[in-house]
């Protein structure tokens, strides 16, 4: 069967149009705008690297960058390890395991806004958690009104939401762990812990690197959790603002500084690209060993 030379392009066309219109063009536009003083209502003037100089001198940028980095560093280890442990429990075929798996996966499909509201009610100064703490004779804990605790609370929500998603990835990877290796280790007298560290973990290493990369990128780009828990304010004095929150705050509305927000977005993109390249390099090195 023969086809015209342009036939494959016809199949590609819908995807290409969407990518060009909604990904490539906005991305290139963002790069151009980052060198201007554009506002929401005007194209602005070319300002060279002024936006980047301003960024280097902007304390809000450094607070946001520090918070995003801290966020990533704190959420990645639990998001790599905890879903693996849950997946190992969830892969057992025991009565009621379906309910267990569903319970862990529910936060993934729940709306971020609903999740944020529920956690806000739980952690509010008069919320459920503080009511229990007070009933037990303790003092109220300022989960949402102390900038550090707000970040920690938000990280807990991120980890809680991510558990189910990464658990599913681990479940599929666990199915590919060679059974003969596990059996051989058992015959050689290896206990469950030894089998886990010497057989399961090495077999899952590529998956773990993938999950580390995904959770690092998501952690660095965190927005909805911190936005909802702080009521959109970024915490008292904006001290819990993250980079994406800062971009939203600077660029939103008719009075938004689109040029500066684009410059912030470009820096965020470069940081994330760097993170992914490091992960890729680590993965390759692991493969070569």
């Amino acid at each position: 069967m023969t086809h015209k030379p342009y036939t494959p392009w016809l199949f590609l066309l819908p995807g290409l149009v969407v990518s060009l219109g909604f990904v490539i063009f906005p991305f290139l536009n963002m790069i151009v705008l980052s060198f201007t003083d554009a506002s929401a209502l005007g194209g602005g003037q070319f300002t060279g690297v002024d936006n980047f100089v301003r960024m280097a001198q902007d304390p809000k940028f450094w607070v946001a960058a520090r918070n995003s980095l801290l966020y990533m560093v704190c959420v990645v280890p639990p998001l790599v390890l905890l879903p693996l442990l849950i997946a190992m429990l969830a892969q057992k075929i025991v009565p009621g395991i379906g309910i267990f798996r569903t319970a862990f996966f529910t936060p993934v499909i729940a709306s971020a806004v609903v999740v944020g509201l529920i956690w806000t009610w739980l952690l509010d100064s008069r919320g459920l958690v503080n009511s229990v703490v007070e009933a037990l004779g303790g003092a109220r804990i300022p989960f949402l009104t102390d900038s550090t605790l707000l970040l920690v609370s938000s990280m807990i929500v991120t980890i809680w939401r991510g558990l189910g998603y990464y658990m599913v990835i681990y479940l599929s990877a666990l199915a590919n762990v060679p059974k003969d290796l596990l059996e051989a280790a058992m015959v050689d007298g290896a206990g469950p812990v030894r089998r886990f560290w010497s057989v399961t973990v090495p077999s899952l290493r590529p998956t773990m690197v993938l999950i580390a990369a995904l959770s690092a990128v998501n952690g660095f780009r965190v927005f909805s959790e911190i936005y909802l828990l702080s009521g959109g304010s970024g915490g008292p004095g904006g001290a819990s603002t993250t980079l994406v929150m800062l971009i939203q705050s600077v660029g939103r509305g008719l009075t938004g500084e689109v040029g500066y927000a684009s410059a912030l977005s470009l820096v965020l993109f470069v940081i994330l690209l760097g993170l992914l390249l490091i992960t890729l390099k680590l993965n390759r090195r692991e493969d070569q060993l």
């Binding site: 300022p142 008292p236 705050s249």
Partner: protein, 422 residues
């Protein structure tokens, strides 16, 4: 964002009132607005008025089309969520609808970018039909020009929780009327019963109510000594526990929710809130106290919405005629009777509905608010953007936490607001 939700809340008020005939006649049957023929099709965009006010808006459109044969008005209602994004996208593309519902702070950036028709030039004769303070709200201070027909207004009383006042040994019949009394009573409430009086740090409008010159000579000036004194008063209240911890991050909506949950004892509000208390917080409603707004200037705060006509409209004459028609006294009074809002026309407030009490709380609030509106001021400068509101909130939080002095926090907030003005 939240402030917009509040404004949209006014627009989406469920109200059990009946539509009564008002006896006022609109005076807007101009066939040659802005020097063109009133004919052809226009698009009218409103802010979250469907489905509550569908019949009302359709009625206004029908009446206009009847009065001006050959015109067609296409009504588009946008939900509150995403309204700003829609206006922004349309404005960037130069395709704003012919008549658009905007509050002054949204009309300002559009007018500044030269996108709106100046009514002082296009329809100067319309000016006397509206309250002076409402017309001024759509002017660019220092530069003249008016960029929107004032539409509905709101102002409100201060609500307080009589039961909490009583528990703390305060006289529930003597709520604070000045900021000095507010601090005294808030400290007593916090010290005796560990109850917070307030749910949020001061907004820019509160500075105005305190008597601070917020904006002068094209610059923000709320860091003047009176402003510092005002923030220091709040700092004393915060330290004593008279503000809930969430006050540092909260806006009007969040603060109102805390008042409904009886976690704070006092909250500014509007006639719309009273209905909400009745249905959503009956135990609060049973103890609700209603008093005049706390102000050092003698004038209450006013919120308003308007309709503007973009310069990009291909049918400006019809758009201007329709904008004036929607906001004429007759149509505004009808609308105000459906929702808990007030007309911005010079004649609208004379309707008996706004001057006569029938013994109910709703009527008491309505009559008091209508009286208040005659001298009310929109204390929020039109230049005050979302970014500026956030800067003020953050600096006040630092002042409350003692990270900065009140003076330093206000200086920083003013510097940031003035930088954003450029």
């Amino acid at each position: 964002m939240k402030r917009r939700t509040f404004l949209a809340g006014l627009a989406a008020v469920p109200f059990a009132g009946t539509l009564a005939s008002c006896g006022l006649s609109g005076n807007t049957a101009s066939n040659s607005s802005a020097g063109g023929q009133v004919t052809g099709e226009i698009t009218f965009q409103t802010w979250s008025l469907k489905p509550k006010y569908t019949d009302y808006v359709n009625g206004v459109i029908d009446a206009f089309q009847k009065q001006h044969q050959g015109t067609t008005v296409k009504w588009v209602d946008q939900p509150a969520d995403g309204y700003l994004a829609k206006v922004m996208a349309d404005a960037s593309a130069g395709s704003l609808p012919d008549v658009i519902n905007v509050p002054p702070d949204l009309s300002f950036p559009l007018a500044k970018a030269g996108q709106l028709v100046d009514l002082d030039q296009a329809l100067e004769e319309a000016k006397p039909e509206y309250l002076e303070n409402a017309w001024q709200a759509f002017e660019i201070p220092g530069k003249g020009g008016c960029y929107g027909f004032p539409w509905y207004l709101n102002t409100g009383p201060v609500f307080y929780n009589k039961a909490l006042f009583r528990d703390a040994g305060l006289d529930p019949e003597k709520p604070p009327t000045t900021f000095k009394e507010l601090e005294e009573q808030a400290l007593k409430l916090a010290q005796s019963k560990k109850i917070a009086m307030l749910g949020q740090t001061p907004t820019i409008a509160d500075f105005g109510l305190y008597g601070v010159k917020v904006f002068e000579n094209d610059k923000f000036t709320f860091n003047e000594p009176e402003g510092v004194e005002f923030v220091e008063s709040y700092k004393r209240m915060y330290d004593a526990g008279a503000l809930i911890p969430e006050a540092l991050t909260q806006n009007y909506t969040g603060s109102g929710t805390k008042f409904m949950a009886q976690q704070t004892a006092l909250s500014p509000g509007s006639a719309y809130d009273l209905g909400k208390f009745k249905t959503d917080a009956p135990s609060l409603y049973a103890n609700i106290g209603i008093t005049k707004p706390i102000t050092n200037t003698g004038s209450a705060n006013m919120f308003l919405h308007g309709v503007s006509v973009p310069k990009s409209s291909k049918n400006q004459a019809t758009a201007l005629a329709f904008g004036r028609f929607v906001t004429n006294a007759e149509n505004q009074v009808k609308f105000a009777k459906l929702a808990s809002i007030f007309p911005s026309t010079s004649k609208g407030g004379d309707d008996p509905y706004f001057t006569t009490e029938d013994g109910s709380d709703e009527a008491r609030v309505r009559v008091a608010a209508a009286k208040q509106l005659k001298t009310a001021v929109n204390y929020t400068p039109v230049q005050f953007s979302d970014q500026m509101r956030e800067a003020l909130l953050q600096q006040l939080a630092d002042a409350m936490l003692g990270k900065k002095s009140a003076k330093q926090a206000l200086d920083d907030a003013v510097n940031e607001c003035n930088r954003l003005l450029k």
